[in-house]
Subunit: 636 residues, 2 copies
């Protein structure tokens, strides 16, 4: 019975070479950021033995007796320098192969590569003869990334170390785990500070370049969405994910620092309104058990071909019977027909289970559903948060929110993730203060903690992003009322709006864009909306026409934070529920909070995906969440 902390040296058993240093937790290897994201960019680590792992970003092969490769190609982004060159290798053009300016390498590369425009990794035909025997006289130069930071490490591998054919080893996306010694680059003019001379290849996870989506061609972001399980391997999505992660930690840090308690609100709810997803077990699950030897439709056994075969075989039997053939031939033909018939019913069964579960009764009785009643996916956590705010004061949550709107555009997701807060003893101004400071904290946090990623994003996605975030973080957000917004829009005589800005209309994307992109060129807070354009639970102002709601609106993206002081007065809330034609029964528990110990309270809701769009400059919300779900789209 072993105790805690077993050493990870299994593969080095009986090996006399010095033990590799381990700078990372929960892994046998060293994370690249601990080597490269240091102030000395790794220089002091030269001579150390390490194990590293990662995926091939680019690969070159140079004849053993050739000089080391030119500095231009061995670029590793540096935290201290601009690292221009680096950024051309750390690329969403995942198929890019860095081409050497040296003739000798270019000649070698030309043999391997296809057209210079699309940069396919290899022309398979040309290399076919080499698969069995890789050229042993080459040295491979890899740029390896492990996603721990934007930096890549140059790994130098003698082809003699590999049992894997060169074509496979060099394919973009190949996973390599190597042990070796860190050294200063041989080429004095190299821009990178440190590289790894491999002594062992501990693991090679190959890629099938023909089927690997990222090796096909330069893929724009919208095409990458079809391969959401691979897209984090692109540098852009990698950087966006690290920014996303920073925003998440920043949210918890900011809110807990200011005394908010995290509360786990439910995803399945019986309260709510609008377009909701139903959660049910009444329809069963489309069966995922298959026959042990599944009938393979791809082999040509579609239901139609099988039915045609049955017809043909029946005709054959008739013919045999009529033509006085021997009995055995008829028996064999009948047996054959039976087998085909079995196949047909199997296929029909399978097709049925694909079409859906049969619903036997005409009416579904939801009192027999899993929860004994209708249940839906929540659209907001603020109702449930109010319950905890009425006990703990300041609370927040972070969770998925669902809207079943049949809309497919750059601003809609069926599943989004919101940070929501609720604060007892607070009013609209307090919620606006909270939104303002939280929002600016997020901007500042990303700038300070994701410098390298933001540098890359500003080069590849939006050149103005860093200055925009800096300006926002240090500015005072302007606040004005809906009424003032309408009068500003009415003064914009040179702009024609599709929806005429008249008091009472909901502000459209066009209106918001005019105010933030044209007039103020930055985020603003708009408050005190007409009661009809906000939800029933928002507190009615004394003018009886407007409600205590606000939106924090940013250029290009739109609303990032929405907030409100919710109605604490029982009679008014009760009347508003009736006004909206909602079932009071569903909201009895919510009304209870006003019946017993009611308090003024306000809260906010930040859309994490919209925030990420603002922080990165990405234009489409489907790129701001790892696995987007939208109308007609859910792939995994």
């Amino acid at each position: 019975m072993e105790s805690h902390g077993k050493p990870h040296q299994k593969e080095q058993d009986g090996d006399l070479s010095p033990k590799p240093i381990t700078l990372s937790k929960y892994s046998n290897r060293v994370e690249l950021k601990t080597l490269l994201d240091r102030s000395d960019r790794g220089a002091a680590l030269a001579g150390k033995r390490v194990v590293i792992g990662g995926w091939v970003k680019s690969a070159r092969a140079v004849k053993k007796d050739s000089p080391p490769p030119p500095p231009a190609v061995v670029a590793v982004p540096s935290p201290s320098s601009g690292g221009d060159q680096a950024h051309t290798t750390a690329n969403i053009r995942c198929t890019e192969i860095i081409q050497s300016k040296m003739n000798i390498f270019r000649r070698f590369f030309d043999v391997l590569s296809g057209s210079g425009k699309t940069y396919p990794i290899f022309d398979k035909t040309e290399l076919a003869g080499q698969k069995a025997a890789p050229p042993p006289e080459y040295v491979f130069y890899f740029l390896i990334s492990d996603g721990s930071s934007i930096s890549s490490l140059q790994v130098v591998v003698d082809s003699a170390l590999s049992t894997v054919p060169a074509t496979q080893l060099m394919a973009l996306g190949t996973c390599i785990v190597a042990e070796g010694v860190l050294r200063l680059p041989l080429a004095a003019s190299a821009k990178h500070v440190i590289e790894l001379e491999a002594e062992k290849l501990l693991h090679v996870g190959t890629v099938d370049p023909e089927k690997y989506p990222l090796s096909k061609k330069q893929l724009p972001l919208h095409m990458l969405r079809d391969f959401s399980h691979f897209r984090p391997r692109t540098t852009t999505v990698g950087s966006v994910t690290r920014v996303h992660s920073a925003l998440t930690l920043a949210s918890h840090t900011f809110l807990q620092y200011h005394g908010f308690q995290y509360v786990q609100v439910p995803v399945i709810t019986t309260t709510g309104f609008g377009e909701m997803f139903r959660v049910t077990t009444l329809l069963g699950k489309t069966d995922d058990k298959e026959e042990k030897k599944p009938v393979n439709e791809k082999d040509g056994f579609s239901i139609d071909t099988v039915k045609a075969a049955i017809k043909e075989k029946t005709r054959l039997i008739d013919h045999l019977k009529r033509s006085d053939s021997n009995r055995e031939a008829v028996v064999a033909a009948v047996h054959d027909l039976k087998k085909t018939g079995d196949l047909a019913s199997q296929l029909e069964m399978k097709q049925k289970s694909k079409t859906g579960t049969l619903v036997k009764s005409e009416k579904l009785d939801f009192s027999k559903d899993f929860f004994g009643r209708d249940a839906y996916l929540t659209a907001s956590g603020r109702f449930h948060l109010e319950s905890y705010a009425s006990a703990l004061g300041k609370v927040y949550t972070f969770g998925p929110r669902f809207i079943a709107d049949k809309i497919d555009n750059a601003r809609h997701l069926a599943e989004m993730w919101n940070v929501e807060t609720e604060m007892a003893f607070s009013e609209l101004d307090d919620a606006m203060d909270c939104a303002d400071e939280y929002f600016k904290f997020l901007c500042k946090y990303v700038l300070e903690n994701r410098q390298e990623d933001m540098k890359f994003i500003s080069k590849r996605v939006d050149k103005t992003i860093t200055t925009r975030l800096e300006a926002t973080a240090s500015s005072s957000l302007l606040r004005f009322s809906y009424t003032e917004a309408i009068s500003l829009l009415q003064k914009a005589t040179s702009t024609k709006f599709e929806t005429k800005p008249e008091w009472g209309v909901a502000l459209t994307t066009e209106h918001l864009s005019y105010l933030t992109d044209e007039i103020y060129k930055g985020p603003v807070i708009i408050h005190s909306y007409p009661k009809a354009v906000k939800q029933f639970y928002v507190r009615l102002n004394d003018d009886k026409k407007t409600v205590a709601a606000f939106d924090l609106v940013v250029p290009k993206v739109g609303v990032v934070i929405t907030g409100s002081q919710n109605e604490e007065r029982f009679e008014i809330l009760n009347a508003r529920i009736a006004e909206f034609g909602l079932s009071r029964e569903k909201f009895e528990w919510y009304l209870d909070l006003r019946r017993h110990g009611t308090v003024k309270h306000s809260g906010i809701s930040l859309s994490m995906e919209q925030m990420l769009l603002f922080a990165t400059g990405l234009p489409d919300i489907k790129d701001a969440i790892p696995f987007p779900r939208s109308w007609g789209k859910a792939n995994n």
Copy 2:
């Protein structure tokens, strides 16, 4: 157009009294923890003007010319002392009224209260005459809690300040916002250091004691579940929530500190197996629009009484016709019958919409569903995490997980929240190291950051909890294999297990309890399970009989963390999917990760609710999540 940071002094306009100090953000009031959870317990703040808000935990009234109340009742928990007395007032017996030992107060109390056993707040009959004119000659002593910490503040209110009847003001759960001056208690023997002498009551949110569930009687935890929107107002649930919040922040802190990137995995998935909830829009939503003037069944118009009325009225019409009554009487009776008939059909319609949506076609075509295919609620985020680990190295997530098992017991929830990690370049040992350190970090974090709450929980829920957490945090967790576990169980000749411990059986609750409660008296890690008792994706060990999975099991609760090294070899994973009879189609994207750049990887999954049970000693998982969802139960 105002700019940012509007002062919150609206209510003090024209007021010459000094401005209250504000120590809390986003609120006009001071959070009680900032007054009471100081090393001086607030002493240095005497003389300061503040606004406070909170809910009445207990209330007493003393005649104005009486001496100040006895020290025993004005207990405020202190961060530095044991605070025994404090804990009897901060009580899940929410209806508890602290009874003075003084005769004068007891006499007053006896008038107000009912039986001494159930402590109803007031006997309404006795006080009925006082409602219009509250006794102006009293001073109220409130203990007020705002949930920012376990501490309560004594607030002294002259009855002349209140326009609300004394019965309402003193009801448990009443919300009070008061402005006043902090002072040292008048009674020299008082245990509390500071109290508030109110000068204004800014808000009173009353309670209807007859309907307020928490005022009825002493409610055990399982009955409180029916009032999940009120239960955070009890001291126990308040403390548990603050511990829960600490565990959440601790998780993000620990994982991000160790280089894990947060990744948002989806809740809606098309991948999965087992008992899952279907997400659909095909069945519509049970309509929540009601008639503007709803037919009120409570007024006696149930469908049955209406049908009886129709029968009666039809009989009347027949009688009128037969008895040659005048035509007008018959017409009136027919008109009346028609109205009743309309009512009947309205009621029937209503009942129908309650029973469920009509399903027109016999077969449901899920290709016409919102996502164009079957979609379910996810049971685990690890599949999706693997995709990001294969690009970013170390990743984690925190989200809801769903299982539609029709089981209702103290260990099952339909919606749970898990923290899941995935680490590329890692094996089983690494995952066990990660589980071990993360788990101990959580124990330590709670002990260090929720001292007062843990003190209370250990008094009220589990006396051994603090020592148990301390022992765990500082110990080295024992690790042993499933095979060793079975042989240990087989040696337990004095214990009869319902399931005989033979190699190959899944370990039952009874087995786990024997190992952790009886043998080791602490958490252990059990690894290398037979392949049949774990899922298909776990990596097959070289013996071909066991797989690289583990469970971190704790006394009383069971499995808190489960983890595994998942299969990185394409051929084996492919074969295992077939072995389990699962549809390969659903797992094509998951197999893709093995086709292209595969890597050894492992991860863990911590059940936040199970962890909270371990950290608090609570016995039922429904008390470890604010709004529990389980078979047949979803209330809001």
